[in-house]
């Protein structure tokens, strides 16, 4: 074994997986995990822990894996994370824990993400469940949204003895883990549902089909339903569009719609009723993880798929692993290309998309080089479906119906980073609702901070 290299992880063959919705990465088996665990040099001052938003004791759990004490490894992770099977799969480890790993200076870092995934999957398969606190402290907390920040906040508060109810607007809990991230990256029945069940086993109640701000307001939860504090983890759900001509044509979708149809409504399966337009030739506009998810979903539904992105490959916001997987599967990248107009036929359907070539200029506010149009370089891509994946912004439904809750000009709720405290007494917030669209793990970090803030607030009462 080459100590400078990760133990390779088994994956479904790209040609095969391009036609199914089964998980792409198969993960480590016990032997592979224990071999990879030996690569960790157990630094005294572990940089990886500092790189983890929820500060998992990484060398601590890897040490247990190395010894074959996987149950103990699961306990070490559970101290810091409620969703390890999710995080092991979707965290951007390359820029967090693994990005800081000392092994990575001369060779490849330890495969921390795959080890976390192994431990979480092992714990689930071997029936290890979190322990419910013996008794509650009688204090009721409402959590809005059952995505990563809400689940984390609820789990942490339940462990401290609070009676927690999560309110979820959709009919299934999980937030972006359920409606956004596809099955082939994050299996729902096998991974997401068991992790949500683990939060329930801590004593958390989840009430679905409740749209806060419509079905009931935050003020009513506090004044009429006996909740003493509220955590808002409602995410950033509103899709953005480009505002170009033809964008309301049939066959133009937001990535949110496309992914919700496929993931939440399971439109990719024949036994579910919700339809989805598969498309023969699909353009996905945007370069983030969501764009990759939409592109790879369209590919699996049988389309030829182009990712249309206005900057170059170096600026793609998606994880390197996702871009790599997408390419392996046959997604075509039309880089330095920006859409100008969508062509529409008499029946209202997409017939093509006019684009222009771009070049990179000086860095802009984001630090990335600004894309500039190359005059006279317009051309037409022949597509029948366009998926807009340009990002999302927070839903104003909650802020608009809650007295005294301040938001900024991007409609994000203003909250203190370390506690989640908002401008309204007893109301805390975190995750995409505060930061705008970010990652699962950052939302979890914010959920954890919110739980700390709420505990401090209610302990003082």
């Amino acid at each position: 074994m080459d100590v400078l290299k990760k133990v390779p992880v088994r994956e479904q063959d790209p040609k095969v997986r391009a036609t199914n919705f089964e998980e792409v990465c198969l993960g480590y088996n016990e032997e592979e995990a224990m071999a990879e665990a030996t690569r960790c040099i157990k630094c005294k001052n572990p940089k990886c822990v500092a790189g983890c938003p929820v500060a998992i004791d990484i060398p601590g759990f890897i040490k247990e894996v190395e010894k074959g004490n996987h149950a103990e490894a699961a306990r070490v992770i559970a101290k810091s994370s409620a969703l390890p099977a999710v995080c092991g799969r979707v965290c951007p480890q390359e820029s967090q824990c693994e990005g800081k790993c000392i092994r990575g200076i001369k060779g490849e870092p330890v495969s921390i993400g795959k080890l976390e995934r192994f431990v979480a999957d092992w714990a689930r398969e071997n029936g290890i469940v979190p322990e419910k606190p013996e008794k509650t402290n009688g204090k009721k907390v409402a959590v809005i949204g059952s995505g990563p920040s809400g689940l984390t906040c609820a789990g942490d508060l339940a462990k401290l003895g609070y009676e927690v109810t999560i309110f979820e607007a959709l009919h299934e809990p999980g937030g972006v883990l359920t409606y956004g991230i596809p099955e082939f990256r994050l299996p729902k029945e096998r991974v997401v549902q068991p992790e949500i069940d683990n939060v329930r086993k801590l004593g958390v109640t989840i009430e679905t089909n409740v749209v806060i701000g419509k079905s009931v307001t935050i003020d009513e939860l506090l004044d009429e339903e006996g909740f003493q504090a509220v955590f808002i983890g409602s995410g950033a759900g509103l899709p953005m569009f480009m505002g170009i001509p033809g964008e309301n044509a049939n066959g133009v979708f937001s990535a949110n719609e496309y992914l919700t149809r496929s993931n939440l409504m399971k439109a990719f399966r024949d036994d579910y009723d919700t339809p989805i337009v598969a498309g023969k030739k699909v353009a996905v506009v945007g370069g983030g993880n969501v764009a990759m998810d939409a592109a790879r979903t369209a590919l699996r539904l049988g389309a030829e798929v182009h990712v249309v992105y206005r900057r170059s490959e170096a600026e793609l916001p998606a994880r390197v692993e996702e871009v790599h997987h997408a390419k392996e599967e046959g997604i075509i990248f039309d880089l330095l290309t920006n859409p100008l107009e969508i062509f529409v036929n008499d029946n209202g359907w997409v017939t093509g998309m006019k684009c222009i070539r771009m070049e990179l200029g000086e860095p802009d506010a984001s630090g990335r080089r600004r894309p500039i149009e190359i005059e006279g370089s317009e051309f037409v891509i022949d597509v029948d479906t366009v998926i807009m994946s340009l990002g999302t912004s927070p839903n104003p439904l909650i802020s608009a119906t809650t007295k005294g809750l301040d938001i900024n000009k991007r409609k994000c709720i203003i909250a203190e980073e370390s506690t989640g405290k908002t401008s309204k007494d007893g109301v805390y917030a975190g995750g995409d609702a505060v930061t705008g669209a970010a990652t699962v793990i950052l939302a979890m970090e914010a959920g954890r901070a919110g739980a700390r803030g709420i505990d401090e607030y209610l302990s003082g009462q």
């Binding site: 089909n209 079905s215 759900g237 569009f241 964008e247 309301n248 719609e257 919700t260 989805i276 209202g348």
Partner: protein, 296 residues
């Protein structure tokens, strides 16, 4: 699970159900809607709220069976359950939020078409509860498709019924009744609320624009989540893109781009039709739907 307390067939392919949904019943206002799911594998179907009973904790929904999903829903009976009912969604009608004295000064004309009569009912009931007499026109293709006539008669000031084929009461389209009331009888209205098929709302709006009569329409486009998340329900209103679920469902009818909205409504027609075919043929189904592989 949401229990069905009452299920009734109102007309050919039109069904009424009272469903237990305490949170919706407590919070809902005229103009808002719900999304229902029959079972785990069903579609999320947006339906306007026809009535509600806050004490009983129930809402009344009315739907027409048009696709595979609603066809299956039509078979549900009292005592059965919906897997999911979420709401209320959308915004209440404008007059609910307006100063009551201002509303009382205005003369309202409600125009209901087909199954669109259902969402008109709670608005007219609200008017009656606040002591306001309104005129109501109901239009139906034919006598057998007319719904809620008696209920509306109780709540409306004047009720005018018209059928396209003349099988009951007046003969002709709702637009002809509007013309008759305003032009021939010289009635004055300040606001028209028109809810029905997209094509009816389009023609009502073309007429009321000529008559200089401000008109509110309620749109029920394709939706998935109903909370602003997917953008499937986007409509162009006054040149701006709006989401019917969170910005509507009611809009200034004179500003709505109906032609675009009608095209968007057709989007899944072929897929829906295919699902319908599969459902009807049941076990004997072996191709033709384009989805099962039986054609190959």
């Amino acid at each position: 699970m949401y229990k069905i307390l009452k299920a009734e067939k109102l007309a050919e392919k039109i069904y009424l159900m009272d469903v237990e949904a305490p949170r919706v019943a407590k919070a809902c206002q005229p103009g808002e809607f719900v999304i229902v799911m029959m079972d785990e594998k069903g579609e999320r179907i947006p339906l306007t709220i026809c009535d509600f009973n806050r004490e009983q904790g129930s809402v009344t929904i009315v739907f027409q069976s048009v696709g595979a999903g609603t066809e299956k829903m039509a078979n549900l009976k009292a005592g059965d359950y919906f897997a999911d009912v979420v709401g209320p969604l959308g915004n209440p009608s404008e007059f609910v939020k307006e100063d009551l004295e201002e509303v009382k000064k205005k003369k309202y004309l409600f125009v209901a078409g087909g199954v669109g009569t259902a969402p008109v009912y709670p608005q007219v009931r609200w008017m009656r509860e606040h002591g306001i007499d309104v005129d109501v026109i109901i239009g139906a293709k034919t006598k057998n498709l007319l719904i809620l006539e008696d209920k509306l008669k109780e709540q409306a000031g004047n009720l005018y019924v018209t059928t396209d084929d003349g099988s009951y009461e007046r003969k002709g389209m709702v637009t002809e009744v509007i013309k008759d009331l305003v032009v021939n009888q010289g009635k004055k209205y300040d606001v028209c609320v028109a809810i029905g098929p997209m094509i009816m709302m389009k023609f009502v709006c073309l007429l009321t624009k000529d008559l200089n009569l401000p008109t509110v329409v309620s749109l029920n486009p394709i939706m998935v989540d109903g909370t602003g998340m997917c953008g499937a329900c986007r409509v162009t209103v006054g040149g701006e893109v709006k989401f019917a679920c969170v910005d509507g469902p009611e809009f200034d009818g004179h500003l709505v781009n109906f032609d675009e909205a009608m095209k968007r409504q057709q989007m899944y027609k072929s897929e829906e039709g295919r699902a319908q075919l599969k459902l009807q043929e049941g076990d004997t189904h072996h191709g033709g739907c384009g989805m099962c592989g039986g054609d190959n």
